[in-house]
Structure formats: structure tokens, C-alpha cells
Amino acid sequence: MFVSIVFLSIIVSYVQSQIELILPPLPYEYNALEPVLSEKLMRLHHDKHHQAYTTKTNVALNAMATDETLDDQSKELAKLPIEVILTQIQRIPEKYQSTLRNNGGGYVNHKLFFTMLRKPTATATENQPTGPLLDAIESSFGSFDKFKEVFTSASVNLFGSGWVWLHTNAQTKQLTINSTMNQDNPTMFDKDRVILLGIDVWEHAYYPVYENRRNEYVDNFWRIINWPFVESLFTQETARHSDL
């Protein structure tokens, strides 16, 4: 009896200590973003790339959480939500830093990215934000068109692999655009950043449809932005942050 209790508690604690990030399903059908992003591209992007980031992040987190060469503080860090871990990259033990930054970053970035997209509008110009987010865009950039110009230019001109982001500071509600390389995102450099919009400009994000023509991908990206969702990120997250 005693032996089975001990055995059971070992199993339970093992199961509890297994970190298992889930690959979230797309919030729409694989073909929902046609013709801007094809079903084939979305299947690859989600089922292969995002899955790989998920799997590799789990491997790294579990290895870190059970690594007997690390102190307890470092092992406990591995059990925090991945979004929180990534705001403390310097605290991650060196041997796990690169893999968590790349794969954890990839997991988080894609999780967010796919939710920011929706069925395309017929033209880019008819797809625009409204409400407090539009006010904030006009306040920070002068106009929506000017914001679009800056964001587009950054996306087209990014060298190599990376992302371009629109993000805000929860207190000031000032909006910023900047690019990051590989799977970095703005929260890695400032935990108080609230990401509102991102565009993946890794070649895998557009190559099956647009080949080398990244500018065409970026031009069409404006048709698939889920502005109501992005607006809700702005109003909800900035309200939540100011409550803290």
C-alpha cells in the first residue's frame, strides 16, 4: 500500500513536471486566407513550422526544468509561462538561451500571428482600423496611410529573416514600429511592450505563393489583418497593464 502510494506520487509529480505547450489550432480553416495565403502555405506554416517550434520549446523547457547541474531558481524559471520566460532571456542559463529564444520565440510569435489574420477583403484600402486604435495610430504617425507606409517599408526592407511589429507602451499608448531578427519580438527587450500587430517576413511565410516577391506579399497582407481583434488587443491589454 505504502509502496503504491510512493509509486503513484512519483508518477504524479513526473506528470506535473512535464511541460507541454500545446500547438493552438488555427482560429479558421486552412483555406480561409485564400487567395492571399494559400491553404498549402497555411498547412506548412502551422503544421510544420509552428509545430516544430512547439516541439523544440517543450524539449528545451523540460530539459531545463530537470537539469541537475542548474540551481533551483533556474529550474523554476522553466516552469513559468513561455511568454514570461522570454521577457527574462538574460536569466536563462546560457546553454538553453539560444534554443529558447529561437524556438520559444517562434512558438509565441506564431501563436499571436495566426490570430491577427482573417478572411481577405477585396482590396487593401477597405480594410482599416477604427476607434481608439485608429486614434492612437493617427496620433503616433499622423495618419493611417503614413503608418502603413512606414510598416510596409520596414517589412520589405528587412534583411534576412525576421518580423516587423506594431507595439505600444501600456501607459503612454504611444505606438511604435520596429523590426526584429529571427524569432525575436519586442517583449524580449521590454516586458511592458504590448504587441498589437506583426508580420512574419521569413521566406517560409510567403514563398509558396509569392516566391521572391516579398513586396507583393506585404501589399496583400493589408487585406487579411483582423483589425477588430487588433483593436481589442489595444484596448484590453492597455487597460490591463494600467491596472497593474
Partner: protein, 219 residues
């Protein structure tokens, strides 16, 4: 007379720029010659679009750079350096890449001086392949995997470079064999499975050319 003298430097600069424009080198084989390892579609896009864009953008950046230099505009010169590094590196890297690939041959292994040097510096050809493969597959984002020659230490080394950073300018190593691991180099065929592409590319490695590059580097 004075107006001619004032015009002269600008004209000279633009004439010089036109004379030294970079051009897209032809492939030493047909677009589909590297099948089935690299498809004709990929080779066409890779050469006619990607490499061509690096050449065109390099020429544009260099012309602007020369213009800025003629006006002692250091700010603009420095501002243009990333574009020259990126596009110039892209042109250099791809020019080497086309040369170190060749249509598939059976039992493709290095011979001569290269074979000896590999054995000396890695223990065996397979060990070198393993290290080069791991390094190339492990590149985060975009970049290149290289077998390079360290002239100071007279030995081969594996290295990786990010984006289009050229091997020699960045590390001092002389390029002997390289693998483009930007997604555009393999995506249409291998999708996200970079490891399969890296494994297959050794079937079309032009070890004769790599040997030539080594002999030159050793001089």
C-alpha cells in the same frame, strides 16, 4: 571653363560607376542540370530573381556610395554600408555557390590535396560532412554554412555566417565549399526540412572546384 571643371568630378564618378557595374554571372550548367537534388524551378528563381536582385541592388548602392564619397558625405556613406554588405555579400556568396555545385556524379568524393587536407583537419571526409551538415542545419534564420580555409593556421574549418555576410570579409577564412541555407534555396522542394536538402546537396558538390579554391587559398 569653370563650369566644365565643376561638372568633371560628377561625370567622372558616373562614368567610373558605369564601367565597374557588377553583372550576374551565367550558371556553368543548365537550370535543370542539378535535378533531382535542386529543381530547375528553384535554380531559375534563385539565379534570375534572388542573385539578380543582389547584383542590381549592389550596383544601385555602390553608385549612391560613390556619389556620397565624391561629396565627402560620410553620413550617407555609412548609411549605405549595410546595403553594400548585404547585396555585395549576396553577390559574392552566390557567385561561389554556383561554381561549387555541379551535375550529379556517382560516388562523389574529394580527391587530391583537398582529400588529404580534409583527412588531416577532420580525421575523415564523413566527419567533415557531419560537422558541416550540423552547422548548416543549425543556422538560425537565414545564412550560409561553409567549409573554409584558415590561411594563418593552414587548416580547414567549418563556419557559418548570418544573412549574406560573406565568409572571407567576415571571418578571414577563404571559402572552399558553401551551402546556402536561406529558405529560398530549398523551400519549394524540401519545404521546412532543411536537413534533407543539406544531406542531398553533397551529391552535387563540385569537389574538383573546391580543390582548386583550396590550392589558390594555400598560395
Amino acid at each position: 571653363m569653370q563650369s566644365i571643371i565643376k561638372l568633371a568630378p560628377r561625370t567622372l564618378v558616373s562614368v567610373l560607376s558605369r564601367c565597374s557595374k557588377h553583372t550576374l554571372p551565367d550558371l556553368p550548367y543548365d537550370y535543370n542540370a542539378l535535378e533531382p537534388v535542386i529543381s530547375g524551378d528553384i535554380m531559375k528563381l534563385h539565379h534570375q530573381k534572388h542573385h539578380a536582385a543582389y547584383v542590381n541592388n549592389l550596383n544601385v548602392a555602390e553608385e549612391k556610395y560613390n556619389e556620397a564619397k565624391a561629396h565627402n558625405d560620410l553620413t550617407t556613406m555609412i548609411h549605405l554600408q549595410p546595403a553594400i554588405r548585404f547585396n555585395g555579400g549576396g553577390h559574392l556568396n552566390h557567385s561561389i555557390f554556383w561554381q561549387v555545385l555541379s551535375p550529379k556524379e556517382g560516388g562523389n568524393q574529394p580527391t587530391g590535396a583537398l582529400a588529404e587536407q580534409i583527412k588531416k583537419d577532420f580525421g575523415s571526409f564523413d566527419k567533415m560532412l557531419s560537422q558541416l551538415s550540423n552547422a548548416s542545419v543549425g543556422v538560425q534564420g537565414s545564412g550560409w554554412g561553409w567549409l573554409g580555409f584558415n590561411r594563418q593556421e593552414q587548416r580547414l574549418q567549418i563556419a557559418t555566417c548570418a544573412n549574406q555576410d560573406p565568409l572571407q570579409a567576415t571571418t578571414g577564412l577563404s571559402p572552399i565549399f558553401g551551402i546556402d541555407v536561406w529558405e529560398h534555396a530549398y523551400y519549394l522542394q524540401y519545404k521546412n526540412v532543411r536537413a534533407d536538402y543539406v544531406k542531398a546537396i553533397f551529391e552535387i558538390a563540385n569537389w574538383k572546384k573546391a580543390d582548386e579554391l583550396l590550392q589558390k587559398a594555400k598560395q
